[in-house]
Subunit: 145 residues, 2 copies
DNA sequence: TCAATTATTTAGAACGGTTCTAAGGTGAAA
DNA sequence: TTTCACCTTAGAACCGTTCTAAATAATTGA
């Protein structure tokens, strides 16, 4: 109880964020939040986050990874991105922005929000509301590094 | 190229186009092509096309539906659209265009190609080539009919 | 503090769309 | 026709994801 503060890292995330979202700050959620919100925008799949947690010595089941990713998405801490039918990506950048998707590598990269402008958007049909506009720039080939 | 079936009879489309694409004009492929390229742009899932074929009295297995949809996609007769992690949509409209996706109904609708303009696209990383830009306008709620 | 209460985690089973397998069927060249 | 490469098929396998129900952990209240 008194040691929770020792788990908090140097970044902006705090256990208060979880409490405010109505989520109990459990060991698993705190550890995963630390991995995810380390200050750098990230795109993760459930499997990838699970592997990363294992490697970091965090004991957490795959079911909890899925639960946590969905709960974080529900409370607006993450955003789900669909670019590949085979798996689901979660993005720690929840601001308006778009993506490069590297088809050959299955890798997703942010395009800064103010660079792309979409104009000429039609009105949505009566009875519906626009929830968001997604632009994916699909890219083939291997990046030079 | 996109609207051949609207200009020619469905029979000549099927056989000629399949031959040119290097695909044998089998009973199954011809029947499915007739369903798909009837002159109206369509978005189908494998399961939906299978059900439609059954209803039309066409004997074809689900495996063949999948094979055929992929082969048609490879030769440029169809385009694959990813909007929902749970299933794959195939679009008979292969021209440049974008989509409305009705999240509550799982339904995909074309937005005419010339209405939306995307500007400010960044250059793709060195070593890669842009394969396509996809815009999906996600919509919530139920359309009034 | 320490039950009592409630939320969370978990292993493993189940699920659903898609792909694979290997055996039989079919189209086309000669 | 014969031949053979291509195609179709049923059913099994696959794989990411969700579900289940039992164990565990966080919180509440006295």
């Amino acid at each position: 109880m008194a040691k929770i503060s020792a788990l908090e890292g140097p970044m902006s995330f705090s256990v208060e964020t979880l409490r405010e979202a109505g989520l109990r700050p459990t060991r698993q959620r705190i550890s995963l939040a630390k991995l995810l919100f380390d200050g750098v925008d990230r795109h993760v799949t459930a499997e990838a986050l699970h592997a990363e947690a294992q490697a970091a010595g965090i004991r957490v089941s795959l079911a909890t990874i899925y639960n946590t990713l969905h709960q974080f998405t529900e409370v607006g801490l993450l955003r789900q991105v669909v670019v590949d039918g085979a798996r689901t990506y979660f993005d720690t950048n929840i601001d308006d922005h778009h993506h490069f998707y590297f088809e050959d590598e299955g890798d997703l990269v942010d395009i800064p929000g103010d660079s792309i402008v979409v104009s000429g958007l039609p009105n949505v049909p009566a009875g519906t509301t626009q929830s968001r506009v997604e632009v994916v720039v699909r890219v083939k080939g291997r990046r030079r590094s």
